[in-house]
Each structure stands twice: as structure tokens, then as C-alpha cells.
């Protein structure tokens, strides 16, 4: 029966999940404290959690509910986006429970299963539960096995829906990703697996689709006839911090290109989906991801870099090799620049330059579409000297917004034409109120909406791009760049060869 009080025209009523439980494994970890618990508080504060909602935290601590409640409260208070209201937390806090145990402890999982069953009577939760694996991937197999063994991952047995949420890294290469996908898809059913790519939870990323498919203005020029090339940049000013053990095994390409940048590239290049359902969008994304073409000469058209000591934001920072925990002879990249192509009619011969790195001058993620110059300019050459190519830039973070650069007459008596920029900021105005990526994504998990989650095939398509690169790079050394610079010189040379240059992001 459809809910008679829900009417698509009634757009004030938010979508609220059915009564359910969220089980967080690794609830003491960084992600849980900085993102998940605060996001839950924010959701509660916005009134988006169902009347029957319980959080079960699982961790290897000798804790009571009290200890855990105080950790959760501190975490929420420190990182919540929305204003703090004690009464909101009190209601949520009452329904946060702690289940102690380690992952190989059968008894602990039996207890967890029992606790979930009891929620039916105590909270009116008819078996619905999502399991958030905020744990190292190495712990996945044991946890998944436990969930299977106890029947907790089984929709039928539990009488409601059972979903699982996994975080990146989704494997380390194609075979390991497949193995991981099989493992999760087998323990649960593929429809019930939610892979988090938090980039897709960002408003501006979702806005790419609105910009492209809700307007008439951009789509007609969104192709190789008008686009000269596209630059996608994901720059961070921070170094690797304390994550050496993880990062040194992975490097920039696996860490962010395989997932976030592939998703951005897919959203920018995909064809119009026939509808906005999860499967229709996925179909188009997959199609274009499979059309991604690697450069013929990988050593020439890709650049890996590694930061050396330098100055960032007024502070002296150590080089990568001097970071604690990094082996002195590490050849892991902290910067990567790629030349990719998309093999279809729309994008033939348009280069896509993708770069990502740490210890770059500032934190920025953006997509710049650079258009071709006008085929003919009826102006004196001296008058158009300052005229560049038209650009459309989608800034994903920070200062979310869109800028459009085009030529305009300089006031005065001569016909001098110069670039001006039109700037639309969702930026400062929105950051306060636009939800955190994790808020949106957790809510979607509980609602069962998979639009913003990459599925196994997308993950595998990402590795199909990254694996051959990693293979070609094996045994090579990354180019050094000084911390606080826009990557190694070779990256500039890579574009200069075709007469292009990186946009200063």
C-alpha cells in the first residue's frame, strides 16, 4: 500500500527512511568520529531520521553504553555542521548502543544478531539494518563471513532489508577489486551493496548533470567541434600526514584517480541518460568509462611526481621521503598527470588532462572545459592579444561554483578585446546549509537510493584505466617537485608539447 499522505506534489515533506538500524564496524576510527557520527547528528537535527532508528557501534573495547555515548557525543559536537541542540542529541544518543567484541569473536557477532532481533520488539524496527564497514579492507573477509554465518546479511531471514556500506579503497588493482566485489556481493546481494565515493555526495558534482542536461546553452558545444581540451584538477595542499603506511602502498593514482577523478570524468563526458534513475545514469557512465583511452606512449603522456621539502601556505614542510613511516627509497607518487582520450564520436581527439597531487599550492578540485578559439577573428591581431580561449570551469571545492570566461571589449576608443570572467558562486552562500557529502550518502543508503554510489562494474572500469598505467610505471621513479609548486616541470612540458598549458587552478 502506498502511503496516502505522501504525494509527489507535496515537496515539503522530506523522504524519511523506514525504521531501521545502522551498525558501524570500526566505530572508534577516524572516519566514524569525524564524518559518520556527526553526519548522523546532522540528519537527526534536520529531522530526516525515522522515528525508529538505532545505531549499534561495534568495536574491540571493554566499554559500556555510557563510555561509547560520551565518545559519540564528543565526536558529534566537534564535527557537526548544524547548530548543536542538546535535545536532538539526547534523543539520538538514547538510541546509540555499543556492542563490544573483536572481529573473530563468534560470540560477539551472535550478540549483535540478537540485539538486532530485539529491536523489533523494543523499537518497532522490522529487520531493516545497514552495516557500515568503517574498517581496514583487510578486515572485510572476517566481518563479512561473520555476517553471513549469523544470517545477519540475509534479507529473507531478517524480514527486512539488509545493506552493507563499504569505503574506498575498493581493492588495489582489478583482480583484488573483483575479489572484494565478489566477496561483498556474495555475502549480501549486489543491489544491497553501497560503495561510498564521497565525491558523488557533493552538491557541485551532482550539479554537473543539472548544468549539462537541464540547459540548452552548454550541450550543443559540449563536443569535439567546440571543445579544445578538458582539464580536471584535484589538488591538495596537505601532505600524507600520518597515513604513510597506507599511502606508500597506494599512491595518488590508486588513491584518487581510480575513483573520484574517474567519476568526474564520466559525469563530464557521458551522454544524456534516458532518465534519472540509478541504472539509467550508471548505463551512460559505464559506457563512457569503457571508452576511455590510454595514451599510446605512457612514459611520454603521463607524469608521476613526488614532493620534496618546500613551503606551503607559509610553512616549511618536509619532503615525502622524510615523512614519518615512508621508506627512504620509496617510488610512490604523490602527484600524477595523465593525458586521456575518450573514444567516441563526441570526444574523438579531445585530450582530457587529469592531475591530482599533494602539497600543491592550494586545495582545489575543478573541471575546466577549454573551448577552441574562434576560427576567424575580424580584429587587428594587436587588439586580441589578451584574448584567450573561452572557458567553462566547474569548481567542485572549495568555493563551489561555475565560472565562464569570454572575451569582451575593453572600454575606450580602440576595439581591444580581453578576457573577462563571469562567476557564479554557490560558494560562501551555500556552504553553511548545503549538506555534507556523508549526510546525503548515509541518508541514501537508508532510503535504498543507489544513484550516488558506484557499483562493482564502475569500480572495475576504473581499475581497467589505472592498472595498465601502474604496470607501465613499474620500476620508474617519480619526478621530484618542490612542495608548494604545481607539480613537476614535466607535467607542464606534457601540455606544452601540444601548445597547451595548465590553467592556474
Amino acid at each position: 500500500m502506498n502511503n496516502p499522505l505522501r504525494d509527489p506534489q507535496d515537496r515539503r515533506l522530506p523522504r524519511i527512511p523506514e525504521p531501521c538500524a545502522l551498525v558501524i564496524f570500526g566505530v572508534t576510527g577516524d572516519l566514524s568520529r569525524k564524518k559518520l557520527i556527526p553526519a548522523l547528528y546532522d540528519l537527526a537535527n534536520r529531522g530526516l531520521l525515522p522515528p525508529g532508528f538505532v545505531v549499534l557501534g561495534f568495536a574491540r573495547r571493554d566499554w559500556g553504553d555510557e563510555d561509547f555515548a560520551s565518545l559519540a557525543r564528543k565526536a558529534a559536537q566537534a564535527h557537526a555542521r548544524t547548530p548543536w541542540r542538546d535535545e536532538v542529541w539526547d534523543r539520538l544518543g538514547e538510541n546509540i548502543k555499543f556492542v563490544p567484541g573483536s572481529f573473530d569473536d563468534d560470540e560477539a557477532f551472535d550478540r549483535l544478531a540478537e540485539t538486532l532481533d530485539e529491536l523489533r520488539a523494543t523499537h518497532g524496527i522490522e529487520g531493516n539494518a545497514a552495516f557500515y564497514l568503517s574498517i581496514p579492507p583487510s578486515a572485510f573477509p572476517v566481518v563479512l563471513k561473520q555476517l553471513e554465518r549469523t544470517g545477519m546479511s540475509d534479507n529473507q531471514k531478517s524480514g527486512g532489508w539488509r545493506r552493507v556500506v563499504v569505503e574506498k579503497p575498493f581493492g588495489n588493482d582489478l583482480p583484488s577489486a573483483k575479489q572484494l566485489n565478489d566477496l561483498v556481493d556474495h555475502a549480501f546481494t549486489p543491489e544491497d551493496v553501497f560503495r561510498i565515493d564521497h565525491y558523488l555526495g557533493k552538491e557541485t558534482v551532482q550539479n554537473i548533470l543539472a548544468l549539462r542536461f537541464a540547459n540548452t546553452l552548454f550541450e550543443p558545444v559540449w563536443n569535439s567541434l567546440y571543445v579544445d581540451h578538458v582539464q580536471i584538477t584535484m589538488a591538495e595542499d596537505v601532505g600524507i600526514g600520518t597515513r604513510a603506511a597506507f599511502y606508500d602502498k597506494v599512491g595518488t593514482t590508486r588513491d584518487v584517480v581510480q575513483n573520484h577523478l574517474m567519476q568526474l570524468l564520466a559525469l563530464v563526458t557521458m551522454e544524456e541518460p534516458t532518465g534519472f534513475s540509478a541504472t539509467e545514469i550508471r548505463t551512460e557512465k559505464l559506457k563512457v568509462m569503457r571508452a576511455i583511452k590510454l595514451p599510446g606512449d605512457i612514459s611520454r603522456d603521463t607524469v608521476r611526481g613526488q614532493y620534496q621539502a618546500g613551503w606551503v601556505a607559509g610553512e616549511r614542510v618536509p619532503g615525502y621521503l622524510d615523512e614519518p613511516g615512508v621508506p627512504p627509497d620509496s617510488t610512490t607518487e604523490t602527484y600524477v598527470a595523465l593525458t586521456l582520450g575518450v573514444q567516441n564520436r563526441r570526444w574523438a581527439r579531445v585530450p582530457f588532462y587529469i592531475r591530482a597531487g599533494k602539497r600543491l599550492p592550494r586545495r582545489v578540485t575543478e573541471i575546466a572545459v577549454l573551448f577552441k578559439r574562434a576560427p576567424h577573428l575580424p580584429f587587428a591581431p594587436s587588439d586580441v592579444e589578451m584574448l584567450g580561449a573561452n572557458q567553462l570551469v566547474i569548481r567542485v571545492q572549495p568555493d563551489e561554483g561555475v565560472t565562464l570566461k569570454f572575451g569582451s571589449k575593453v572600454p575606450g576608443t580602440t576595439m581591444e578585446v580581453r578576457d573577462i570572467t563571469m562567476d557564479v558562486q554557490y560558494g560562501e552562500a551555500f556552504t553553511e546549509t548545503s549538506p555534507e557529502a556523508y549526510e546525503r550518502l548515509i541518508l541514501d543508503v537508508l532510503l535504498g537510493d543507489k544513484t550516488l554510489f558506484p557499483d562493482a562494474e564502475e569500480v572495475e572500469a576504473g581499475w581497467r584505466v589505472v592498472d595498465p598505467l601502474e604496470e607501465a610505471w613499474a620500476g620508474t621513479r617519480p619526478e621530484p617537485y618542490r612542495a608548494g609548486e604545481w607539480g613537476p616541470r614535466a607535467a607542464d612540458a606534457m601540455l606544452a608539447r601540444t601548445g597547451r598549458a595548465w590553467r592556474r587552478a
Binding site: M1, N3, L5, P14, G47, R91, A121, T433
Partner: protein, 387 residues
């Protein structure tokens, strides 16, 4: 901030342009113009609410305070603020006195941001007919607040009589959290109510709308049970499966009780005026759910045939304030007593206006007087009344 005393409309337009230039692109992405009609005492509250709402909907805020319409000398004062204390808003607070107050649109129209929707919000008792206020006529969305009226229930009926698509009332906005809770009952239930009771103070327009909504959606007309206090207190439902569901406010929280299930407690925080306003600004199209609820709540009908565009009706409050013409003003509600003036409409292209204008334009001697008014404020306020 620029303060302009005893100034003109064009000086205000120039000051706003100058402030925008110095502030440099802070608000280049305006989503809408928000006109707030209010009283001096409410200016700060209106500003504060608009600042909260503007965080989600960057807007140009035009606050209009009309005062002393009978004052012999017209005067305009204005404050222009871009960024700063009003957050991502650019704001002009205008104070108008004398006959100018009856022609506020002459100051406001040139200040509307180009090509974005206009929303007018009365942070005071709204006019009996929105068409009386040119500031309501220019807007595609009109927000009233019957809670601010002396008799809110009567005011809600007035709103129903005057309803046009694009109108909403904050009494409706305020119950979104309640409606959300009541709706969630039916997410997990396969049974419908046979009897509904709403517990609310007797003069609560929100409760009336709640009842209207439930009637429209469920076909069960709720019974109203008056309780003391100033806010809606609860909803109780007798279900077809024999059970009961009650949702009751209890000291800053809500307790949901349902036969066969343990009680559940949820926070129910009262939202600020700014949050309510932000919800209003989220959608700029007509709220059909509200229309249906309002129709059922007041027993009025035929809302779907109402045109979304109003035509300004000349209505001189000054007449009402002068004892010798009070009778005339009192009669000023029938079709012969009112005058269609300019057909001003923010969104409509001119081609659409004539047929509605034709319908609304009354025949009669009033027309000429209205045209004189429209042509300019040529008479002293003490001059011959329009009759």
C-alpha cells in the same frame, strides 16, 4: 552601508549599484528578490529571518516599512547594505511616509533584481485582498502569516477567499515537521484511520490546515479538540485494524505511541522564523498540497480555476482612517467600489495579462479615479476622496 535620508527612488538605485561595486561580486548569483512588508518594530526580526533564509537562497532583500500614510508630506528614507551583517544578502530597507507609502511599488520596482522571481512576505497582517497591495501583485510567490492577525481563523478564511496559486501561509509552513511525523506513521503501516482527533488551541490556523490536509489526503475529517497553550499539541488516530496511534508534544519532544509497539520519543524543535522562511523560498511554484488543505480547512472551493496573476486593485487605506469617508472605505470591497489600476505582474508576459485583466476590471466610475492615481500622486492627502 549607505544611509539615505529624505531621498528619492533613483538615488536608492544608484546607492545599491555603488554598494554592489565596492563589495565586489559577493552576491552575483541572486536566486530571487524578497520583498518584506513590515512595521518599524518588526524590521530587525524580518532582517534576521531573511539572513537565515538567504544562506540557502542568495537574495536581494527589500524591506518596506510604510507608515503614516496620512502625513501631509511624503518622505523616503533608505538604508543600503551589501554583505556584512546580513550575510549573503544585499538589502535595501526603505521607510516611506505620506502618500508615497501608497505607491511603494514606484520605489520597489526599479530595485527588483532583473529576471529572477519575486517573493513578497508580509511580516504583519496581510491586506484583505492581496490585489490591494501592488507589492503583492508584482510577486509570483506571496507569503502571509495569519498567526499575526487578531483572528487567525478568520484570517485564514480571508486567505482562502483571496487564494491564488503562489500564495502560502506560514501557518502551513510551521506544521511541516508535524506532517512529516504523521506521514511516517503510514510508511510502516498498512492500515488507515477511521477517526482522527487533533488537539490544538482553539485559534490555531496551523491545526485547521492540518485538519484540511488530512481530510484531503485520507478522506477522514478530523475532530478538533481544544487544548490550552499556543501550539498544536497532538494528533490521535483510530486505525482500521483496531489499534490507535497518537503523536503528542511533550516538553520539547514528541512521543509517538502505537498499539503493539513501544513508545518512541523524537525531538521536535520549534523552527525559527528564518528556517520557516527558508522552507518557503525553496519552491517558487504553487503549492498544490497547501491549496487542497486550505480548501478543505475553510470549505472554500474552485481554487484550481483561480488565475495565478493578480491585477492591482486601488484601495486607499487613508480613506479608512478619515472618519468622514470611513463609510465609503467600508464599501470599498464590492466590485463597483474598487478600481483596476495598472496590471502589474512580475512573471507574466504581457500577452497573458489582458484576459485576466478583462475579467477583473470592473466597469464603473471608479476607473477614472484610479487612472489619476496611477498617473501620479497629484492630490494632497486631504483632497477629494475617490467617489
Amino acid at each position: 552601508m549607505i544611509g539615505l535620508w529624505d531621498t528619492t527612488g533613483s538615488a536608492v538605485v544608484k546607492a545599491l549599484a555603488a554598494e554592489r561595486r565596492t563589495a565586489g561580486g559577493v552576491t552575483s548569483g541572486l536566486a530571487l528578490t524578497l520583498i518584506v512588508v513590515t512595521e518599524e518594530a518588526e524590521v530587525r526580526a524580518a532582517e534576521a529571518a531573511a539572513t537565515v533564509a538567504a544562506a540557502a537562497h542568495p537574495c536581494r532583500l527589500l524591506i518596506v516599512v510604510r507608515d503614516e500614510v496620512t502625513h501631509p508630506r511624503s518622505r523616503l528614507d533608505a538604508e543600503v547594505v551589501v554583505g556584512g551583517r546580513l550575510g549573503p544578502c544585499e538589502a535595501v530597507v526603505t521607510r516611506m511616509r505620506g502618500r508615497l507609502a501608497l505607491h511603494a511599488e514606484s520605489v520597489v520596482m526599479p530595485l527588483l533584481a532583473p529576471d529572477v522571481p519575486v517573493v513578497t512576505w508580509w511580516r504583519c497582517g496581510p491586506p484583505d485582498r492581496i490585489a490591494y497591495d501592488p507589492l503583492g501583485v508584482v510577486a509570483e510567490r506571496r507569503i502571509t502569516d495569519t498567526m499575526q492577525c487578531d483572528d487567525p481563523l478568520e484570517a485564514l478564511r480571508v486567505r482562502a477567499d483571496d487564494y491564488a496559486p503562489g500564495d502560502t501561509d506560514l501557518a502551513w509552513t510551521r506544521i511541516t515537521p508535524w506532517r512529516t511525523l504523521v506521514a511516517s506513521v503510514f510508511d510502516a503501516s498498512h492500515s488507515l484511520p477511521t477517526k482522527i482527533t487533533i488537539e490544538a488551541p482553539p485559534k490555531d490556523p496551523s491545526a485547521l490546515l492540518m485538519g484540511g490536509w488530512l481530510t484531503a489526503r485520507l478522506g477522514v475529517t478530523p475532530e478538533m479538540r481544544p487544548v490550552s497553550g499556543n501550539r498544536m499539541h497532538g494528533v490521535a488516530m483510530q486505525m482500521t485494524d483496531g489499534g490507535t496511534v497518537t503523536i503528542r508534544r511533550d516538553d520539547g519532544r514528541v512521543v509517538v505511541q502505537r498499539t503493539g509497539l513501544p513508545d518512541r520519543t523524537l525531538p521536535l524543535t520549534d523552527r525559527s522564523l528564518g528556517e520557516d522562511l527558508a522552507e518557503e523560498l525553496r519552491r517558487l511554484d504553487a503549492d498544490q498540497t497547501y491549496a487542497a488543505a486550505l480548501a478543505k480547512a475553510t470549505g472554500r472551493d474552485g481554487f484550481q480555476d483561480r488565475a495565478p496573476i493578480r491585477v492591482h486593485v486601488w484601495h486607499d487605506p487613508a480613506l479608512a482612517e478619515r472618519p468622514d469617508t470611513a463609510d465609503d472605505a467600508g464599501r470599498d470591497t464590492g466590485p463597483s467600489g474598487e478600481t483596476a489600476m495598472v496590471s502589474v505582474s512580475g512573471a507574466a508576459d504581457v500577452a497573458k495579462v489582458p484576459d485576466t485583466a478583462d475579467v477583473a476590471r470592473p466597469a464603473g466610475p471608479g476607473v477614472a479615479d484610479g487612472d489619476i492615481e496611477a498617473a501620479g500622486d497629484t492630490r494632497a492627502p486631504g483632497g477629494e476622496p475617490a467617489k
